[in-house]
């Protein structure tokens, strides 16, 4: 029962995030999408995934709130409660397939590999290398921007 409630909430918040006129309200709905996703992860025992989802989601939302406030065009008219209600209804209808339909299939065998093993013994090196690549990219961009700023100042 819990999965169905979370699925309906997830789809409704996704629809609201896309089709509300004000960008700030869209971002707030996107926050709902992230949190519902995290709750679905918790419900299915993927606790670490839920923590990462919330951590990354909060960062994305902070950036989106700022950029939405700075860059978003003002909507011509405010979203009426009637339209919001219609969007919630559409979301509820769209979530029906997730509640009533199911894909059958074997869930595989349990490998006995827990999260710590998977992270540090199997893929730990990849994670560290990827972090290094992203850090190098960020440093490179920062250096280029700094040089450009210096040239602009001269």
């Amino acid at each position: 029962m819990m999965f169905e409630i979370l699925a309906v909430g997830l789809i409704i918040s996704a629809v609201l995030a896309l089709f509300l006129d004000e960008v700030i309200y869209s971002v707030a709905a996107l926050a709902g999408t992230f949190f519902f996703t995290a709750f679905i992860y918790v419900e299915n025992g993927a606790l670490y995934a839920a923590i990462f989802q919330i951590a990354v989601g909060v960062g994305t939302l902070a950036i989106l709130f700022l950029s939405g406030e700075m860059l978003g065009d003002k909507p011509k008219m405010k979203t009426s409660p009637k339209r919001t209600g219609a969007l919630v209804g559409i979301g509820a209808v769209l979530s029906l397939p997730a509640i009533f339909l199911s894909v059958s299939g074997s869930t595989g065998t349990t490998s006995g590999l827990d999260f710590g093993d998977a992270l540090w013994n199997v893929r730990g090196l990849d994670v560290v290398l990827q972090a290094l690549v992203i850090l190098t990219m960020a440093l490179g961009i920062a250096i280029v921007l700094n040089e450009k700023k210096k040239k602009g100042g001269q």
């Binding site: 990462f52 989106l64 950029s67």
Partner: protein, 106 residues
């Protein structure tokens, strides 16, 4: 395995938003929804199979997702600063007008 249908619906909503929205920030939100649908399917499949590797791969997925988000936001800021709007229709109109005036000069 209801989550497969759920992530499929999420993916469909994200792709529909990507194709129909004209606001650049909404396009970014659509991309986020598509990424969330993909990770949801991935994590739940691994979780239902009892494999911790799925959650470990999620970190990689989030890393790339965040990098992509950063690039999209940077492009969004550049376009918004250059054209003064984040509406794709207005930007296309400006580009067409600019192209037409350049043709007249030539």
């Amino acid at each position: 395995m209801d989550f497969v249908i759920l992530s499929l619906v999420m993916l469909a909503i994200g792709i529909y938003g990507l194709l129909t929205n004209r606001q650049l920030l909404k396009v970014f939100i659509s991309v986020e929804l598509i990424a969330t649908a993909a990770t949801l399917n991935f994590v739940m499949l691994a979780s239902s199979a009892g494999v911790g590797l799925g959650q470990a791969f999620l970190i990689l997925a989030f890393s790339t997702d965040t990098a992509v988000s950063g690039v999209i936001l940077a492009l969004l800021v550049i376009v918004s600063k250059k054209y003064g709007t984040s509406d794709m229709d207005k930007i296309i109109q400006m580009l067409q007008e600019k192209g037409a005036s350049e043709d007249e000069v030539q």
